[in-house]
């Protein structure tokens, strides 16, 4: 059986992370917003967020900041994920974990908006 992780392992990880944190000591290049109201949560916002973190980690992309925002009043589009990059905010609707991974790979990391899932722009 694998040994249970000790919280002390975090100290070592922190040393690792220090480098990437130094690089982005300013504003992160990309902001990812997930709407966490009751409707969003019931529709799968949490799992979309988990997929986003997992994909960012897999691709070792450290220049994104994840934040939550209240519901936008777009209940039927939940879960809603917004990506702010290059001074533009793009909203995606009905985001499944698979879509969330694709949005990270295409838009967050490469700046390519995934047009077919866009519900609004700002």
């Amino acid at each position: 059986m694998e040994k249970i992780k000790s919280i002390e392992e975090l100290r070592k990880l922190r040393e690792h992370a220090r480098e990437s944190l130094k690089v982005r000591s300013g504003e992160a290049k990309v902001k990812i917003m997930v709407s966490m109201g009751t409707v969003g949560i019931a529709a799968g916002a949490r799992d979309a967020l988990m997929a986003i973190i997992s994909e960012l980690e897999k691709r070792q992309f450290h220049d994104a900041q994840i934040v939550e925002r209240g519901s936008l009043g777009l209940d039927k589009e939940e879960p809603v994920v917004a990506v702010e990059r290059d001074n533009k905010t793009v909203f995606y609707g009905k985001v499944t974990p698979e879509m969330a991974r694709e949005i990270v790979a295409q838009h967050v990391i490469n700046g390519q908006i995934v047009s077919e899932w866009v519900i609004a722009k700002e």
Partner: protein, 188 residues
């Protein structure tokens, strides 16, 4: 909701919206005494007695971009239909305590579901809040506090790092699994 862990996220989101700096989540489960109790305590802006009286009305919300607040009314219905109930105590300017009880073995009680993802969501989106999570299952206990974690990793910014978040998610997941006895039964 289809998982209790989603309801937990929803109650904690209320605390976050209330501007809390400290949020404590405690879950206590006992199979012998047949209960599951979820307690969320915050030091947010609180509510006065008049407001608490109408809090389970679906039309009670202070949200500005919608007309209904369904979180608490739905949770009350869920708890009451599972041999339990919900209690809310609040003091304006001081904070709020929400206690939700279920009969553990009730056939309609939703499963706990992916609690580790709920915990990680709270930490990832609000790394600067002091969030503590205490989970007791038949006497076994797991505790986590973001205040302590921040002391280890240095600051809240490190809690935004995806490598650290991934590690934390795995850490919480492993420990919850151990709490439930190593393997997750279909319903826990």
């Amino acid at each position: 909701m289809k998982e209790l862990s989603l309801n937990i996220l929803d109650i904690v989101e209320n605390s976050i919206k209330s501007g809390a700096k400290n949020i404590n989540l405690e879950i206590e489960e006992e199979n012998k005494k047949d209960f599951l109790i979820i307690t969320v305590k915050d030091d947010g802006k609180g509510m006065d007695d008049e407001f608490v009286k109408i809090i389970f009305d679906p039309f009670t919300t202070t949200s500005t971009n919608k007309k209904v607040g369904l979180g608490l009314p739905l949770l009350r219905e869920e708890a009451e239909s599972c041999g339990g109930g919900i209690e809310i105590q609040s003091k304006k300017g001081k904070g709020t305590i929400v206690v939700v009880k279920f009969k553990h073995s009730h056939i309609d009680r939703p499963p706990m579901g992916d609690l580790a993802s709920t915990i990680l969501t709270i930490i990832a989106t609000n790394p600067e809040i002091n969030f503590s999570y205490v989970h007791k299952v038949n006497g076994k206990v797991f505790k986590l506090s973001t205040k302590e974690i921040r002391e280890i990793v240095g600051d809240a910014a490190a809690l935004r790092d995806v490598t650290i978040l991934k590690w934390l998610g795995d850490y919480v997941r492993e420990n919850i699994k151990t709490l439930y006895g190593g393997e997750r039964s279909g319903k826990n």
